[in-house]
Symmetry: C2
Subunit: 316 residues, 2 copies
């Protein structure tokens, strides 16, 4: 089903595909609003299982489990963009699935995504992967000066209204997001343009939920879209502590058919991921003023695995 479902009552149950930290934080946001959540995920160790009313631990191709899941929930959303097309179609025939799974066909294929964006009259990045200083240097040499800056942009759509969080500037390390900073060092013109691009993408998709659009800034007024993530995104984690509403609550509101909140930022914000064994150092952040520590309840530490994050808010 493509359209937004009728607004859910607070006692409704929201189904979440995927049991990682994004699903966990979606469920925590839903709980604030009074909703129950049912998480469907294949791994028994899913961090989201610990914070919800009901869980289904099954493979995404298990139609019997999907059928029971669909019968128990009022709407389905997902924490990751690689939901198998068959799973999405199976569920969508039984219960509203939001955002519209048809979008996944576009964002799962980089070339299709690029063509989609190009057809909107928006420039796309000529290189696909720039996540390290070395890659950036090589890419800049290919593309030419001036230097490339990574940013992300959030747009939403809840039946016409679009609300945006501030542009976020991202710094990667080993292809993994390490630090997000808000506001981004961006001209007023680029800020307006970034917002416009995100809105066009969201509207073209008929999007319901949170959408992250990754862009590069080449020079004043020249923004390139690199990637679209049709879901809540690591670069929006700062909103949990740095804004009056989090990306997770906005997503839940959108898929529930509720009005979006109007985000107000509390100040300058910096979010840093705790990756792999870095999580063992969480204690040194606990008593810093204005700092929030988030741990995802993952039992096994593995290199490159996102284990938690730390947010610092600096009053303006």
């Amino acid at each position: 089903m493509t359209a937004a479902a009728p607004a859910l009552e607070p006692e409704a149950t929201i189904g979440i595909l995927g049991g990682g930290q994004l699903g966990r934080m979606l469920a925590l946001a839903a709980a604030r609003l009074g909703f129950r959540c049912h998480v469907f995920a294949p791994s028994p160790d899913s961090p989201a299982f610990d914070v919800v009313h009901r869980v289904t631990c099954a493979d995404y191709t298990d139609t019997e489990a999907l059928d029971r899941f669909a019968a128990d929930v009022d709407v389905v959303t997902y924490e990751f963009e690689n939901v198998p097309a068959e799973t999405a179609a199976f569920l969508a025939a039984r219960v509203p699935v939001l955002p519209n799974p048809a979008i996944l066909a576009t964002t799962q294929d980089r070339l299709v995504e690029k063509n989609f964006v190009t057809n909107l009259g928006i420039a796309t990045a000529v290189f696909a992967e720039v996540s390290s200083p070395a890659e950036l240097k090589a890419a800049v040499e290919r593309v030419g000066r001036p230097a490339v800056l990574k940013t992300r942009r959030f747009g939403y759509d809840g039946k016409g209204a679009v609300e945006c969080f501030d542009v976020t500037e991202n710094e990667h390390r080993d292809h993994i997001l390490k630090t997000s900073r808000v506001p981004a060092t961006l001209s007023q013109q680029d800020t307006v343009q970034a917002r416009r691009i995100a809105e066009i993408v969201a509207q073209k998709f008929g999007y319901v939920g949170v959408l992250a659009v990754e862009m590069f800034v080449l020079r004043e007024g020249e923004l390139l879209v690199n990637e679209i993530a049709p879901r809540v995104h690591n670069s929006g984690h700062w909103t949990l502590d740095g804004a009056s509403v989090s990306q997770f609550e906005q997503h839940i509101r959108a898929v529930a058919g509720w009005p979006l909140a109007k985000p107000v930022r509390h100040g300058r914000v910096e979010m840093t991921n705790l990756i792999g064994r870095e999580v063992e150092d969480y204690r040194r952040y606990l008593d810093l003023p204005g700092v929030a520590v988030h741990l995802y309840g993952k039992t096994a530490i593995r290199p490159g695995r996102k284990m938690g994050h730390v947010t610092r808010v600096f009053a303006d």
Copy 2:
């Protein structure tokens, strides 16, 4: 056990006695830090059941259920001050219970509480119940001018450190907290004095967790303690959206033996309870800038029942 337990690891399980909105919000705060929660409550409709890893639905006198509960958790805390003494003693013989249940014997009896406070050299209110303007007027006539102002004060203790939230000014309606405002209209001298009183009470108890001390302000420099609540408290709900750390997370940190966070307030804050059928109006708050809506997942609406709350943060 009276002393703070050794610091828990993030994968530990925190047991919570009581399944209302306070237990629910404690569990949500614990989840941010990676903890699992196990809620023990007698009612199958307990709102906290929806957001935790494991639940026990049993009477507080069910020793078999308490025994299994104690075996599953690393520490026990509670959302309400009327935990039966036998329940607390049974659990404390098996697992750390924090705050120290011995405190309950003091706070459950108004006279014992009053004597405890008086023995600390702190003045107590000469009247016990002042929750409405009419009662206030009558009380003021009994006690004399100037007018009485209600405030609450939070103190904490995590192994010596004490952290305090700002003094909160409360307005009651029909004996139920209706609105909290922060900061309270209070002189600098009274603010310092209120903090000192809360710290003395917390230290005298050897307190671990969040403590709410209700005081009246008679005139400049004259504060009277009316009541001590050895738990997270409705008048601290504003901290969820108005501060860098919530009262719920501070409580969880304290009982887990973690360092307390240093709270930073985001601005002037106003928290209003949604009581009984008022909750049906929640939609009108959803799209106000800087406003957060919390619904507790209670299925039955009853007069006087706290169904949710709304917080508004005004940037300073």
